[in-house]
Symmetry: C2
Subunit: 353 residues, 2 copies
């Protein structure tokens, strides 16, 4: 493109998971929540006034941020930045804390968007391979960078590193530690309390999974006020629309719905992990709302992925090193998971028989 940046010539951008347009499929490929969001969300949406549409929204999303602070026991809204999805918070973190040509550290495997964001900014991504149990190796703590993205629980493995590893990282890393807790509401422990202790830690949260609000694009970053001040400089002038701000506030104030939905998903996760293991998959203990089902048998994982798709069951397959022998399967309703297990059983049984 004649007027384009050289930087972008080889960039393809982030490729999101497939979104089938028909509604009669079983969608276990993008880690959405199978259960509806809080009834308060629906109320908030239905009660948006004409004036809220007509007027500019609060540019700094104060009511939403204050509600998040209350929920997490933080002093006030100065500890929270709101984003148009956590993806926007991630992009802002790169623009706010990384100079072009700086290094950004992350693990392999992890969320592939980090690499895209680094490329777009002209920064270098440094990936350190997780060990064979998908835990952090020593090299990870010894690699210098301006910013580190650590996903806990990680995607697409579902494995959470110990909280002690996060503390160690905050202490030893000379730069910003962005802890991506997109899936942490499905985990046994989170690290939100550490932001009061470490001045270089940002904890990111998403409303897409545990709050069933992927469609609304809601995410936050939680950190000490000096960090949030920097975000406020670089964020888009009005980055959150009025509807998202209201919906986000309604969602975070309804802890009961969150807990009920995540408990159901955790229960299903346990049951499906066992069933997949019985079918011969190797499934690391997941702390997220998906399973990383490794399959070394025949037919190949890729064939299983394609066959499931032919039956209208969408899971995620990554054609990449250390991942191409596995399916990433989001936890849906029990009925959806039963359909998946039945289908897999039928595909695998003839081979095993």
């Amino acid at each position: 493109m004649k007027y384009g940046r050289v930087l972008l010539e080889d960039v393809e951008g982030y490729v999101p998971g497939e979104q089938p347009q028909t509604s009669d499929v079983i969608k276990l490929n993008t880690n959405e929540n199978p259960y509806p969001p809080s009834p308060r969300v629906i109320e908030a949406l239905q009660s948006v006034s004409v004036n809220a549409l007509r007027r500019y929204p609060d540019p700094v999303s104060l009511n939403f941020r204050a509600a998040c602070a209350r929920r997490y026991g933080l002093p006030n809204a100065d500890w929270v930045i709101a984003g148009n999805g956590m993806d926007e918070v991630l992009a802002m973190a790169v623009r706010t804390f990384v100079d072009p040509d700086d290094a950004i550290l992350t693990t392999y495997p992890t969320y592939t968007l980090y690499e895209t964001l680094a490329q777009l900014h002209g920064a270098h991504i440094v990936e350190v391979d997780l060990d064979e149990n998908f835990q952090l190796p020593e090299a990870f703590f010894e690699t210098p960078a301006r910013l580190v993205f650590l996903t806990r629980p990680n995607a697409p493995t579902g494995v959470a590193v110990p909280k002690g590893a996060v503390e160690r990282l905050c202490e030893s890393f000379d730069g910003i530690v962005f802890l991506d807790e997109a899936y942490v509401d499905f985990a046994d422990a989170h690290c939100m309390d550490l932001v009061q202790q470490y001045d270089n830690l940002i904890v990111g949260r998403s409303f897409s999974k545990s709050y069933s609000l992927a469609g609304m694009r809601l995410g936050i970053g939680v950190a000490q006020p000096a960090i949030i001040d920097e975000f406020l400089k670089t964020k888009d002038s009005y980055n959150m629309n009025a509807v998202a701000q209201r919906v986000g506030k309604a969602a975070i104030e309804d802890a009961a719905t969150l807990e009920a939905n995540t408990a159901r998903i955790r229960a299903t996760r346990g049951r499906v992990t066992n069933a997949l293991t019985e079918l011969g998959f190797e499934v690391p203990e997941s702390q997220a709302n998906f399973l990383f089902a490794q399959w070394k048998g025949s037919p190949s994982a890729k064939t299983l992925f394609e066959s499931l798709r032919d039956r209208g069951i969408f899971v995620r397959y990554f054609n990449a090193r250390r991942l191409d022998h596995a399916l990433r399967i989001s936890i849906g309703t029990d009925a959806e998971m039963d359909a998946l297990l039945t289908a897999l059983g039928e595909m695998i049984a003839p081979v095993r028989a």
Copy 2:
């Protein structure tokens, strides 16, 4: 901030117009539309399904972009990029077409966000002063840069440069021409047709003013597909939420509401221009939904601004060169404008008497 970028040390970020929290004020300070949006917008909002909330939205906003293309007589959605407000399209344009250290050309005065965006990107803003009639001087056509932001009609003056000047710029400028048509639905002529002719032109549109949707953050950039392809690389993964996509489509498909509301505002604009002129203001012919009311008398424009504010009437005052003798007054309802005119009359009359 210990981990911050040197680049951001002196950045204050964009300062939006004041948003009073009480509802019993007359708000003529941020160019919002006093009339409600299309009834189809309300319908679209009320009919958002639980699945639309729960699932990821279309990452490329295809239905919304296709509706925009139809509306403007363009071949298809490949000619349109959707933004979370036109502000996001502006920010994307900088990131997509400007390298840090490049120059961005604009006029003075104009929308101050351009300078903020340049700063945040590490680019240089080059401002060329408009002439005494707020038209483009020769120097503007002779200044090299990577990208130019031209607002037509301009803010805060309301003056539109001739369409021929835009054509001349597209022909002579060696870089991307971003024509910001945020206010063009209130003008006599627009330049949307020029995108088929010039491969370096991006026409930006906002839904905040003419569509009464400032709260929804909706904007677009229209350009030839090679330019849109570059935007698609750099945009956030899911930059538009599901509600905004639906609302935007509903709004742009209702041309009748747009035309009715803009016609009312244009009629009020003419009447108020005359009344302000009679009061002694000098008001350049506005093609936008606001007036640039220049006041060289006593009390000063700043005092008028403050006195209006004390009476609960908010207008915009810019403490800046060439602007500090004027009030920027958004066009509200006829009743709101009558209240403004009465108040101004009372403040000015004792001095003139």
